[in-house]
């Protein structure tokens, strides 16, 4: 039984990470049909904000030195700030543009951020020791789990419930949900577009920051390319879950994480390097079976 428990914790913690990232992508897609390829760079930016800008090999902690109670809100704020800033500088001017043009602009923005980080910090990955204590293993249900995995699972649940409450109970949340379902209609009914969009970007950026904190605690390194892979998975999860559906994105994020862990655990050694090929084949199959997404709102059905 302990093996299954172990598998559960491995899968849930990776799934939680993907779910958070997917939520960040889905929020922005919902309000302005933008597939934000710069999301991965927001993650990298937040990680690098922990250390002093320098191209030296040895990283010196900068924000990372602050106690958690200050550090966490500051990094979340920073993530929100860069996302809002990018909306203000780039995407605001592209509101009327085709989603494809916006997507390419987001890719170009990510390219700028990534290369700016490279120029400031150098190409060598850096070590960041953030809360090493969180990696101590604890025993639960016969499985030995690093404390961090539990924290990831808990904080995903926390973030998702928090967000759900925010979206359900608050005025801005209501507006955001309305906007995600039908933006034009929402605007006609008096939803203020700028407020909703800025709010969505801020939340999305804060989610990127949360992902960044988890990844850096887990891996102990900062690398400019570290957000890329997770962003792609999140993007896929968003579509799998059903575009415009925030709960769908979360569920699909978890699903991709779980399938990935299960494949790694159960595939024979020779097939294991091909893990991602199996994963993406499943993605295509899922899309073919349910093109509108696995967990879809009624509004997503195309009306003729």
């Amino acid at each position: 039984m302990s093996n299954l428990a172990q598998l559960f914790f491995d899968a849930a913690s990776l799934g939680g990470l993907y779910a958070m990232a997917a939520l960040g992508i889905a929020l922005i897609f919902g309000v302005m049909k933008l597939v934000n390829f710069a999301h991965g760079e927001y993650i990298a930016f937040c990680v690098f904000a922990l250390i002093v800008p320098s191209t030296d090999a040895v990283a010196v902690m900068f924000l990372g030195k602050a106690p958690a109670l200050i550090l966490i809100p500051v990094i979340l704020g920073l993530g929100a700030a860069i996302a809002v800033a990018s909306e203000y500088v780039v995407f605001r001017h592209l509101r009327k543009a085709d989603p494809v043009a916006m997507m390419i602009a987001s890719f170009a923005l990510g390219f700028v951020i990534r290369n700016a980080l490279l120029a400031t910090y150098g190409g060598r990955p850096k070590a960041v020791s953030l809360w090493p204590g969180l990696n101590t293993p604890v025993d639960i249900a016969g499985a030995s789990v690093p404390l961090l995995q539990l924290i990831v699972i808990l904080s995903t649940l926390l973030v998702v419930t928090g967000l759900a409450l925010l979206l359900k109970k608050s005025r801005i949340g209501l507006e955001m949900r309305a906007a995600a379902e039908n933006f034009t209609m929402a605007r006609l009914l008096g939803v203020r577009a700028n407020r909703v969009i800025t709010g969505a970007f801020a939340l999305s950026g804060a989610l990127a920051a949360a992902v960044a904190l988890i990844m850096v605690t887990q891996t102990g390194v900062a690398d400019v390319r570290m957000g890329g892979q997770i962003m792609l998975v999140a993007f896929i999860a968003t579509v799998l879950g059903g575009l415009g559906s925030l709960p769908g994105a979360v569920a699909a994020g978890f699903l991709v994480g779980i399938v990935s862990v299960v494949l790694q655990a159960w595939l024979p050694l020779e097939a294991r390097p091909f893990r991602d090929a199996f994963l993406y084949t499943l993605v295509i199959v899922c899309l073919l079976v349910r093109p509108q997404g696995l967990f879809v709102p009624a509004s997503a059905k195309p009306r003729v």
């Binding site: 043009a101 170009a108 390219f111 700028v112 700016a116 120029a119 991602d276 090929a277 899309l287």
Partner: protein, 354 residues
């Protein structure tokens, strides 16, 4: 007097001519005035023209964004490598190739065509599944296809050499070879776009429901355009491989996917001229910035941009173009001779259609 429709048609066939003249002119300029490094840049740019024009054949006509084309490139590139490498080096590095492929040592041209054909075949297979989807779901599926190709080619030890590069490809692709293929792709793209299938496909791009109601089988036209697009994409992959001389699956992944899409969108996704203009503009800009990084002498003072600033500036330039012209530089218009001109010079027009 020729009918209005016929002259319009004739005018639309002038697009590839204008684009070809533009490219030939550039290559001649480079061949006469440029150094070797510039000649390579020209070859590289023309390979990109081939790629982006192929991408346009599918994306421009169907309106479906494809992230999967780098996968077709990889397929074409490796196929050409299997056919042209020396049998000894294949035995050394790719021991699991089937015997006939191991012994094959083709000329580079049929090998490039074979690469294109294999890519077209895979496009047919993958498209048959993926193109049942529409919109963003189709795009994600093309991305999944790319990830599958990349994973397989990065791990199939005995056949693709996995992450270890395939070496020893003859480096025959200079600016003239690349020019030939770029023009061929442009002509094919134009012919397809003006064919019944191309027109039908563009109708589905504008309004899927209305086109369906008019009896257009969207799936079939999309598949046909993907197969043609896959062929030239495969060829462009083969050209890229034979221009670098070393193949690695990493060359055919996200980097090239995004840069080719960016070139297409910045030039203007709605027109073939846009695809070519996007490549030329961004390539020239990149080359200028790279040279600026190396330093320019003005009045004996050495001015140079700091290393790495080229990437940042090109990203900013792309954003600015998109903000100023969200539909791309050409905004969906083609370069073509004005129909009036063709009507006035009826004689010339009649001759050229004979």
């Amino acid at each position: 007097m020729r009918s209005q429709h016929a002259t319009n048609r004739l005018a639309s066939y002038s697009t590839p001519l204008i684009l070809a003249v533009l490219l030939v002119g550039l290559v001649v300029l480079v061949a006469v005035f440029g150094d070797r490094s510039l000649a390579r840049t020209a070859a590289e740019t023309l390979v990109r023209v081939t790629l982006v024009v192929s991408l346009w054949i599918f994306v421009g006509n169907s309106g479906v964004i494809s992230f999967g084309h780098a996968g077709y490139m990889a397929i074409g590139a490796y196929c050409s490598a299997w056919l042209t490498l020396k049998p000894q080096s294949k035995a050394l590095f790719l021991p699991d190739l089937p015997e006939w492929l191991m012994q094959a040592q083709w000329h580079v041209l049929p090998a490039a065509i074979a690469g294109g054909l294999l890519a077209a075949f895979i496009a047919l297979l993958s498209g048959a599944a993926i193109l049942r989807l529409s919109g963003i779901a189709a795009s994600i599926a093309t991305f999944a296809f790319l990830a599958i190709v990349n994973t397989v080619y990065s791990n199939w030890e005995g056949v693709t050499g996995a992450t270890s590069s395939v070496v020893g490809l003859p480096r025959y692709v200079d600016h003239w070879v690349a020019l030939g293929w770029a023009v061929a792709a442009i002509v094919a793209a134009n012919v397809y776009a003006n064919s019944a299938s191309g027109l039908a496909l563009r109708a589905t791009r504008e309004d899927e429901v209305a086109a369906r109601a008019s009896g257009i089988n969207m799936y079939r036209h999309r598949l046909l355009s993907l197969v043609i697009s896959g062929f030239f994409t495969g060829v462009s992959g083969a050209l890229l491989g034979h221009s670098i001389g070393v193949l690695n699956p990493d060359s055919f992944y996200l980097g090239i996917t995004f840069i080719s899409l960016a070139m297409l969108v910045i030039g203007g996704i709605g027109s073939l001229s846009g695809a070519v203009v996007g490549v030329l503009l961004l390539s020239v800009l990149i080359e200028l910035l790279v040279r600026a990084e190396q330093g320019i002498s003005i009045n004996e003072t050495q001015l140079a941009l700091p290393s790495g600033s080229q990437e940042i500036l090109i990203g900013i330039a792309m954003i600015v173009v998109l903000i100023v012209r969200p539909n791309g530089l050409t905004a969906g218009k083609e370069f073509k001779l004005k129909p009036q001109w063709l009507r006035q010079s009826r004689l010339v027009g009649a001759k050229s259609t004979n």
